[in-house]
């Protein structure tokens, strides 16, 4: 699974950070950071993050 967040769309709603805190986080400047290739154990949480993002900024591709 690869994750891309469109940071132009992202408005720091934080929903992804709540849904998958090990994959998504905020840095000191309030910018979103994330793991582009999360481990298998996180995939369900990442899918929950995709559904929770109010601006649909998270794109996931699964082989």
């Amino acid at each position: 699974m690869t994750v891309i967040v469109d940071l132009n769309l992202c408005q720091s709603h934080g929903q992804c950070v709540y849904a998958a805190p090990e994959v998504f986080a905020f840095d000191e400047e309030e910018n979103l950071t994330y793991q582009p290739e999360p481990p298998e154990s996180q995939h369900d949480r990442v899918r929950a993050a995709v559904a929770a993002c109010p601006v649909r900024a998270i794109l996931v591709s699964e082989p």
Partner: protein, 408 residues
């Protein structure tokens, strides 16, 4: 695979669509009918008081994506007019009857209208796409906008209008904006934001009546503080009222919403859950442990999404889904300041400012009830919400789950 042949979802908006998606994801292979009184396919409401007003967004930009393969039978432009729980049927206003094996009630809420008399032309509310389109169009011509109610919606309309250079008067009966939902610290912060952006803010004041010209067009309003405000456009932001009238006679309990248990099941008069029925979104009220199991109705985007998913699971496999007790979260954008909250700040009996940087428009407020954390709100500081949310989650997890709202 689920044995339900036909599921009818009433209300074709955020909660209804997300419930439909979750039903398919969790194995519903039968017929799936979505009934909606609006002529539009589902769309997202939050942008209606934001980008739709001041960034020229088009309706296509707020369409909610409909996953391919959902295989939905749409019944749009026709309201449901009745529900027969015993007979498992939804009545539509065009006279047709839709029998169901499962039903999702997701009729949301509407803008509270002006109490009493008719209002002159130029007085609007905003709940739907057509309302917002009318206001967006009027904003391009107006000279002076009056907004009644300085809650989140009213505040966002003010911010959008200021971004367009429109003169704005904002009238709020309370002593501060957002006092009931977020308390005095946030109220003062938001009042300062409005004033810094040139809004003529009237607090502790009400609109006594609108004034109009001979063509019944709005010219202004008389306020209880004695001011006469000139305006050729007004937006009423008086809150929302749930769409429950169509359920009259169904035997379902309504209060300030459709009363549900912790499993998203609406309750009948005998206080037992109605069979094969669930509900989600702004129409609902349900007991939440953060509120000491009093009924809550957050009326927020994230709740509609999460509750719709939980409701779909209960409908397909009653009794297996965990109790629905989310940590609610909410956002609002005001003049580029990002206001975000978790938990239920309105429940608090005390609130404290943890950090405030007026120059950077940054704020952190923590909310407690009986000494326990029930919420937190930040402005331009979303990262700081994460630990608060985790603490509220721990607090919720430590509460025993009440499996059913069984009544005495």
């Amino acid at each position: 695979m689920s044995p339900l042949r036909r599921v009818v979802v009433v209300g074709a908006s955020l909660a209804g669509l997300r419930a439909a998606e979750a039903l398919r994801r969790h194995g519903h292979a039968g017929e799936l009918v979505l009934v909606g009184d609006e002529p539009h396919l589902p769309y997202d409401r939050p942008p209606l008081t934001k980008q739709f007003l001041n960034d020229g967004w088009r309706p296509e930009q707020i369409a909610l994506p409909i996953a391919p393969g959902l295989d939905i039978t749409w019944r749009l432009g026709v309201p449901a007019s009745g529900l027969d729980v015993a007979d498992h049927a939804v009545r539509l206003a065009d006279g047709s009857l839709l029998h169901y094996d499962g039903v999702v009630l997701a009729t949301g809420a509407r803008a509270r209208p002006w109490p009493g008399h008719l209002t002159p032309a130029g007085v609007h509310t905003i709940r739907g796409l057509d309302d917002a389109a009318a206001v967006a169009e009027a904003l391009s011509r107006t000279r002076r906008l009056l907004i009644v109610g300085a809650g989140f919606l009213g505040g966002e309309v003010a911010a959008a209008a200021r971004a367009l250079g429109v003169a704005v008067t904002l009238v709020e009966p309370q002593e501060l904006p957002l006092l009931a939902p977020t308390g005095p610290h946030v109220g003062r912060f938001v009042a300062a934001l409005h004033r810094a952006n040139g809004v003529d803010l009237h607090l502790g004041s009400r609109v006594q009546g609108f004034t109009s010209n001979g063509r019944d067009e709005l010219t202004g309003a008389e306020l209880t503080d004695g001011t006469h405000v000139e305006a050729d456009l007004a937006v009423l932001a008086l809150g929302a009222t749930p769409n429950i009238e169509w359920l009259a006679g169904s035997g379902l309990v309504t209060d300030r919403g459709l009363v549900c248990d912790e499993h998203c099941q609406p309750l009948r008069d005998d206080r037992l859950p109605a069979p094969d029925a669930v509900a989600a979104g702004d129409v609902t009220q349900w007991p939440h442990p953060l509120a000491g199991n009093e009924l809550i109705s957050p009326g927020h985007w994230s709740n509609s999404v999460e509750q719709a998913t939980a409701a779909a699971q209960t409908l397909l496999k009653p009794g297996t889904a965990p109790a629905y007790r989310p940590v609610p979260s909410f956002w609002s954008d005001l003049y580029g300041t990002r206001i975000r909250s978790v938990g239920l700040p309105h429940l608090a009996d005390s609130s404290e400012v943890v950090d405030h940087d007026p120059a950077a428009h940054r704020l952190i407020v923590a909310y407690h009830r009986n000494g326990a954390l029930v919420g937190a709100l930040t402005a331009n500081h979303t990262s700081q919400l994460v630990p608060y949310r985790a603490e509220i989650q721990r607090h919720l997890d430590s509460r025993p789950s009440r499996t059913r709202l069984v009544h005495d």
